[in-house]
Symmetry: C2
Subunit: 125 residues, 2 copies
DNA sequence: AAATTAGTCAACCATTTGGGTGAATAATTT
DNA sequence: AAATTATTCACCCAAATGGTTGACTAATTT
């Protein structure tokens, strides 16, 4: 289920602390858990948990060296969200151009007959 | 705080049902609450609540006509998420090019001295 | 005026979430 | 071998989430 992935990514990115972590990683490169935690007011454990969430969403990867865990940013998954948005946009634009054409040609064939569950299209706000 | 807005938007988009609602609206145009709910297996009330969440995130607007509420999609806020992502990407690329330059010029000035809290940069995975 | 229809509000419930603490594990340092 | 350091794991807790049902309001229809 690709939907699941997308949900996980968006949920992970939906938290301010996690976004800050990602930003830190992107600007400083791989960081240890403790180094990351130093930037926040919350406990090391909480940061560790946030990292886990990011990891499960694929937004971060972990390279363990001895007792140290290096966390690196992974921007690729965010492309999935861009994709979703892009898809939405193109459907929307397609629909708009279809409507426009309807207006131009004055095509009567698509007139709703009233038995339809869908309401007449009152057009975009 | 703009961060709050971004969180609200990402959280709203992080739910599968809500994304499906958005998609429906984008492809069919404004729909009534009941018409929307017809597409889901959950109760009308639940859908109503999801719509409220989307509304609070600005991803949807409501036009009330008599007892009917028409819900329309609003894609603009999603641009904010794109912006955030874009920012992240550019910081990342900037950093990569800076590292590359370091390698090329072999600049010794940036050598870490050991008292630094930050670990040596082991480079991206 | 009565009944129906469209939708929200309020309360309830189970689960998830974001935080905290203390103990456990594993690698280093002394 | 003992102490320290880096991190996770296992619970605890309050608040938020996603769903339900039942009552309520308001607009239509009959």
């Amino acid at each position: 289920m690709d939907e699941e992935d997308l949900s996980r990514i968006l949920k992970a990115a939906g938290d301010t602390t996690r976004r800050r972590i990602l930003t830190l990683l992107v600007q400083e490169g791989a960081l240890r858990v403790t180094a990351l935690a130093a930037h926040f007011e919350m406990s090391l454990n909480s940061v560790s948990k946030h990292i886990k969430v990011l990891e499960e969403a694929g937004l971060v990867t972990r390279r363990t060296v001895g007792r140290e865990h290096f966390i690196a940013p992974e921007l690729a998954p965010l492309r999935l969200t861009e994709q979703w948005f892009g898809q939405l946009k193109s459907i929307w634009e397609l629909r708009l151009s279809a409507l426009e054409e309807l207006l131009v040609t004055g095509d009567q064939d698509d007139e709703r007959t009233g038995t339809d569950d869908k309401p007449q299209d009152r057009g975009p706000a």
